[in-house]
Amino acid sequence: MATNEIVRMQEDLERALAKAAGSRSWVMVIDIRKCVGDHACAVSCMAENVCPPGTSYRKVFDAENNEYPNADHFFMPANCQHCDNPPCARAANKVARGAVEKHPDGIVVFDYKTMARHPKAAAAAKKACPYYAIVEDKGGYYTEATPRLEPYETRVFFENGEKLTRKNTRGAVRKCTFCVHRLDAGMLPACVTTCIGRAMYFGDANDPRSLVSEILRQEKTWQMKSSLGTKPRVFYIGYANRFEIAAATAAACVECHE
């Protein structure tokens, strides 16, 4: 651990940002072996993006497997997979052109203004996503029925590089942006930096020197529901059971997610 992985990935990021957007390719890698199910990523996302009450763009699912005393307990973080063939875009843009954009660096971006104006486009996008990665902003605040509406809910946030408040996103459907506003500031996505198991990696897959490229070369990775042809940009490293964690295998994930 000579260099911290976060620092290394930020250096990777600097190199990527120096290039034209079209020549970088953002990907996320999640190492399930290191995911401890602590939800730090989910809470970080809620705070960073002022997610609607009760939602986060990142969910950590969990499931038991096998019987006592040989039970296993798996944790599975999931968010927008930033598909290269995004079903949400096809569905939403059919209703309202420009509702969903695919950026050249791979990020799938929702145009909240269009989404808010076209509830059917929003609904279509949400329904189309096979990853349940899209949340609705129905308005409302965590603290609205309490003695005080708290300022962390009404504050400005910077999703997609825009200055927004919850008033701007009411009615829209929302999702993970790979924290593009942070990327542009040379910072990694909030879920990646906060992960206490260091299970998450992010960077430019087009840069062979980047940590993500290194991991994609070295580890057996797997993409969720890849048989759907969605071409996700989130890669997973899985394991079969707790008795042999170090042996990365996609098999256990495929069992449920294909």
Partner: protein
Amino acid sequence: MDNKTKRCELARIAEEKGISRRSLLKTGALLGASAAVFSKVDKAHALLEKIGSDRGAAYPLSRAENVIYSVCLQCHTACPIKVKILDGVAVKIDGNPYSAQNMIPNLAMKTPPHVAARVDAKLCPKGQAGIQSLYDPYRVVKVLKRNGPRGSNKWKTISFDKAIDEIVNGGRLFASIGEDRHVPGLKELHALRDPKVAKAMAKDAKAVAHGKMTVSAFKAKHKNNLHVLIDPNHPDLGPKNNQFIMQCGRIEHGRKELAKRWLKGSFGSVNFYEHTTICEQSHHIAYNESTRQYKKGKWGKGKHHMKPDASNSEFIIFFGTGFVEANFGPTPMAEKVTDGLATGRLKVAVVDPRMSKSAAKAWKWLPVKPGADAALALAMIQWIIANRKYDEKYLTAANKAAAKAVGETTWSNASHLVRIEADGPGKLLRASDIGIGGDEFVVMNNGKPAAVGKEAITGELDFSGTVGGIKVKTAFTILKEEAFSRSMAQWSEICGIGVSDIETVAAEFTSHGKKACAEMYRGPVQHTNGYYNGQAIIALNMLIGNIDHKGGMTTGGGHWHEDGSKLKKPFNMKKMHPGKLTAFGHKISREKSAYEKSTLFAGYPAKRPWFPFSGNVYQEIIPSAADQYPYGAKALWIHKGTPGFASPAGQTALKILADPGKIPLVFATDIVIGETSMYADYIFPDTAVWERWGTPHTTPDVPQRASKIRQPTVEPMTEVVKVFGEKQHCSWEAVLLAISERLGLPGCGKDGFGPGMDFTTREDFFLKLMANLAWGDKKGQALPDAGRDEMKIFHSARSHMSRITFDPKRWQKACGKENWAKVVTLLNRGGRWEDWSNKFAASNGTVVHKYKKGMNLYAEKVAMQRHSMTGERFSGIAVYEPVKDAMGREINDRGYDLKLITYKDILGGQSRTLPTDYWLSAILPENYILINSRTASELGFRDGDMAKLVSASNHSGEWELPNRENKPMVGRIKAVEGMRPGVVAVSWSFGHWGYGAADADIDGRKVAGDPRRRTGLCPNAAMRIDPALGNSCMTDPIGASSSFYDTSVKLVRA
């Protein structure tokens, strides 16, 4: 749940929603749509290029001017945090990248703040949700006075000054609500005020307690001052000042030192408390007794805490704890373990009746029977000894020089001889006992007894015989005999783990040289046998001699001292207390005092137990006051704690608190109306942890030296009050200073720290600590001065604060102008950390910061002490004991067939965080009664059913809440595979009636509680009331941990 494979929720949702793969594939085949997407690409491309750099500039949270570093306290791991501020509001909390707790390796101290601002370090979800504990709509911001019976949650707001006047002067304070009694004020309790008299009385009272002076001689000598004593016939109870008690929950360094300085040195009461015995005190006490050093005929202090060097370990067995939840703590520990798991460097075993999130990653999950940890450890020890897998070289080295000769930095008393008395092992043999020297310990060397002096000497490990007519055994032999006192099958039966699993784990533990650890925290020790469980686990570590080794157990990197006592400058705080009083007398909890060394000694049993080995015996304070043993309490200050909720059988404390006749004055400093502060007469609003100062210490899990600092990040929300003529936000410190102002207490106010050094605001104290940290412990450790750029950042980052909170001139005066630029460097980084270097990276050899001292396999002090109730001697070696009450009688609650344990979810702390922080409760809105699926179906319960917890000491299954509605302990059954059959687990954090859960009446107006805060259950009221005491939970007689996991319950359908 059926017992087939439970499929991942994501897959399950897909099935429920009826979205088949085929329909998705069909959607995916709409190529026309995707063509439309890609037609957008070029346009978007251009857009991104154009605004790329502007976007970064448009993200203010990446700028150092929007960052203040401080420390979290959502749990006591107290992680350094980076608080990001936007328009004066704390909007996002991340880990501090300078901190070795949050970043491995951490950013070097020389890294400029504007660079660090863009590096976010890791932080657990509780820490991040600090935003919501800070901006909690139920924060108390004005002083509240009770306007109904205690606990009724009826209040009126009153001015700070009036409230302080009332608690200081006393009077008929509640006449307006029909309570005609006189409430004694603190003035009445401030009886002993003369430092000279106090010092003289303290010395003689101690002499009386130790039987070295008679009571009548004391009375004669102090005849003019006997009126200040609680009881002149028992001078060792101390002065009336002791009847003022400060009971703190989560208090930390900085405030802790100030609290002791004030309560003991300024007010003259010994009764300052932390909450440690409801946490994991017996673990600390087990370590302390294992590490006491013998010098000049006395056992000195020991170390309280060791942790695995998990970055380099190859095997760790976690007893009742882990690396993901609770412990010390997830943020620093998780990564070290997950890194090892993924690379194959590390295997872990987890001993826990519940499959914790740590056990989810364990190669061996050992679902032990609650409280049988010592049985498991002793079984492992039996296997290790039988198979000679212990480190003989380490264990035979009898002193420092011998250790050095075999390349060790620590040694043990495994080979030291112990005298065997009629009632068991007693004192360690001394050379003088057999005429071969003085006070040295003795070993068998080449068949002859030899004194353990300074020269290197080894001792026979396994020896039993007679030396100089005295029957002796080595400490190792005593342990061996205990380990072999039962067969492996018998141990297996007791602990509920199969013999082959025990053997496999013992073999694994001894297959990695020094790179294996037996780690523990709360699980094994919050039992009546907690201390012994702890000792058995520590013995495992001693058997392989892993202390100070890379990958072994370590005492951690330590810290620079904030009290200035090392460098003696700039502020040697301990010497800066003019007019300091000497507080004396037994504490109300009878901790740190032996029953036999008191004038109350009247044979066994004592009226309530005494705790000579432990401290901060939280659960004993209020019940002892009620029993007036050793004396009654007149005033109780409850601070940042909730003894009536967080202690096992906490309802017993509430019953006492509800009766003003028991403790006439109760006031609290709290950030909300909590479960216990609801029973106070007054609540003073405290500043939240993000609004105040502190100097929390670092877990030994961190290998580098680290001093972290808490500082205000935002303007405190509490009302502004005036104390000593200075405006300040109401806080714990303001209350303390205001009482001092009224009573004229020494060490506070004008010249409080010495001539020209006033103590009139919190900054006067804390900024001196900051200056000490900036200078370090030795010459040459001073931090560099902040330059112009850093000064600018420092001021800009605080531009949202009023002059009351941030007054640069005032701050400079408090810390000394000459120290200011160094202090700014410290504050700009949230503390100071040793830079990472190759020596920390090296995976072999010994750790950088070493313990370098002896370990006691045999704890002589413990062996020589008698149980204050049974009169029997304790054991100096780890033993297995069943659950016992205060009288030493075994508990057997027939008809209650389920064992109750608790745990903390990673999202929850003890009484805060869940469900009051809404981001966290969005993920976990309620807790459950976790139960093995087969046990559930045997009992006729299904997953999702509601059930009530009932125990032998709580038949109703309710929290009996005086002066308000009872709260049933009802929760949802969660039937899982990851539970030991016959055990139920309920997580902490839920089941509130305070903390915004209930409606309050303030100034005649209803403040509605939030139903989201009422969810789930708190199981503590089911926990066993000690049948011998009747008004408190059961307690470990040595380590004084309260018993959390020894209760048998049954589930009643609800």
